[in-house]
């Protein structure tokens, strides 16, 4: 398989690169000065693209690679891949579900605790020497608060399981109600936001869910509510979110994703009721290795004409 060209647009994981290089002709697009020319030069050998949360495959890229057979994404979200076009062109698409579910759910709870109990802010308080001048103030209890989950898929269910260990009642909004789960269903996002203390965004990004967290939802969540976004930046109307936080209309936010990564609205840098992560939801050595292994296994299966392990298309 060493002659199979696999295009990787941006760095994702040294381990993944290493494993791909063992098996394929890995073409690292970020290392070349003239990217468009590079793609033209290698168009006939590139049979696979490695995507991730920031870089996928749009129609233009797909059209420029006539030998493209598969897009293997190093992520579970595949909003950056034109799935419809892939289907039309017979290009397979795989992602990395399950292996990262725990890490992302862990971050949702970690962010909730960090925001509500002001862990990052009070750490700053200690490091700046302010503790010597006086104690830190009261913070908001997390145990027992109502956790609302937007999207009760693998990650949403994992968040619910963890929150339940903190005696948090669980409420949710999903495309369809899941009566087998004993959680409180709300038929609209606004109703969910009105009836929970912490709202966790855990659904895929699609045309329907773009800006699903808008001003109405933010206002419903309210001055004591906390938004946790572990989905995609475009789930949230970001300027609305920023103004709500600055004006105190929203109690707090824990964010792992943003509209235009790695840019983060600078107005958030000076406020204490947010915790800002650099899209680190699945950034553990263990999980990234497991994700990489899954990408490799999907590619190997494809090129050996075996069934894909985690196909999306």
């Amino acid at each position: 398989m060493e002659s199979i060209g696999v295009l990787m647009p941006i760095p994702m994981s040294p381990y993944l690169e290493q494993e791909l290089e063992k098996r394929f002709n890995l073409l690292k697009l970020w290392t070349v000065p003239h990217k468009a020319q590079f793609i033209k030069d290698h168009a006939t050998s590139i049979r696979a693209i490695i995507g991730n949360a920031s870089a996928g495959a749009d129609a233009e890229l797909i059209d420029s690679l006539p030998k493209l057979e598969i897009v293997a994404s190093f992520s579970v979200g595949i909003d950056k891949v034109d799935l419809k076009y892939c289907k039309e062109k017979g290009v397979r698409v795989t992602n990395t579900p399950d292996v990262l579910t725990d890490d992302v759910a862990d971050i949702a709870i970690g962010l909730s605790l960090a925001v509500m109990r002001r862990l990052s802010e009070s750490d700053r308080y200690v490091r700046s020497g302010l503790w010597k001048k006086g104690g830190y103030k009261l913070t908001t209890k997390f145990t027992g608060k109502i956790v609302g989950i937007l999207g009760l898929g693998r990650i949403g269910k994992a968040v619910a399981k963890r929150a339940e260990a903190f005696s948090c009642p669980i409420a949710y909004f999903s495309r369809t109600e899941k009566p087998e789960l004993k959680y409180k269903y709300y038929p609209t996002v606004v109703e969910l936001a009105s009836n929970c203390d912490v709202l966790v965004v855990a659904c895929p990004l699609t045309e329907e869910t773009r800006h699903i967290i808008n001003r109405e939802v933010i206002d419903a969540l309210g001055p004591k509510g906390v938004l946790i976004n572990i989905g995609r930046g475009h789930h949230v109307d970001e300027p609305e979110l920023v103004s709500a936080l600055l004006e105190g209309r929203l109690g707090g936010a824990g964010l792992d994703v943003y509209q235009n990564e790695p840019e983060v609205p600078e107005q958030l840098f000076g406020i204490e009721n947010v915790v800002l992560l650099p899209h680190a939801g699945s950034d553990t050595t263990e999980t990234c290795n497991a994700m990489a292994d899954l990408v490799i296994r999907n590619l190997e299966a494809h090129f050996l004409n075996k069934p894909l392990l985690t196909p999306v298309v």
Binding site: D106, L113, R117, W131, T284
Partner: protein, 349 residues
Amino acid sequence: MEFCLQIPTRQEAKMARLQFRDANEDDVPSEELPHLLLIHPPSSFTRLPSEICEKFRVLKAWESPLSLDQFLISHARSIQALLIRGFLMINTDILQQLPALKLIITISVGVNHIDMAECRRRGISVTNAGSVYSEDVADIAVGLYIDVLRKLSAADRYVRQGLWSSKGNYPFGSKLGGKRVGIVGLGSIGLEVAKRLEAFGCIISYNSRREKPTSSYPFYSIISELAANSDALIICCALTEQTHHMINKEVFASLGRDGVIVNVGRGAIIDEKELVKCLVSGKIRGAGFDVFENEPQVPEELFTLDNVVLSPHTAIFTPESLQSVKEVLIANVEAFFLNKPLVTPVMDE
């Protein structure tokens, strides 16, 4: 007579005077009410409940121009109850000056600031906060552990300095699932921590004074053995003579380079100087602290480390916990007056 006395700040004393008044001026003549001594104002977050003011004549030592010594001498025979926070050591010296003392109410859960042996000898009952703080403390313990493993606060600092744009992604953290967590002290707080971490896929074992027959978690009687079989230690036990500096060089070595320590107990359970050395030299992966040996002093070597999370002893400070401890305080006082069993007595163990 030597004891460590924390003088309330002028701010605290002023706030306390503004906050509460003796409610008993119009009721029973205050001379007939039993005397409750407060050496310091109640926490700046809470007022003394009116139920307390109705049942006691409250003596406020900090308001008196007398030194504490002299104040105790002048009221010695009348003080039946003492309400304390946790700053002052209630040792034999103070207890000797309070011959009528029958009840000590501490609003902390720890009783390391009280000479419990002397109280037992004198038949003085001691009540603490019971388990009202356990959820909040467990939340902080779990929050600190996730923060250390997943580098939440360090990454937040990174983003706020604009480094995500200029330097790229933040280094990887480590997964919680599958981590072997050793709980040191499986009391009310330890059990709440265990319950939470199990939901993250952590594997729980523990060390405690005695094995708990009701618990199915593996028990290690020797702390360094617990450490050798754990990826993290979460310190949830009381500070006593036995647990002082119990988490020491030997334990750090047994825990190993990938180990994490979280302390929500008392600073002095850990040999802090030794832990700082291990953190600086990479002999331990990281640590989360809500408590320190000499608060509010924090070893400054920690300020430049990204593998530690520092919390200024905030674990119990939520409105819910403070409300609950007020209710426990009132319930204990009422029980005391009705000669009924106290609600949260600190038991002999």
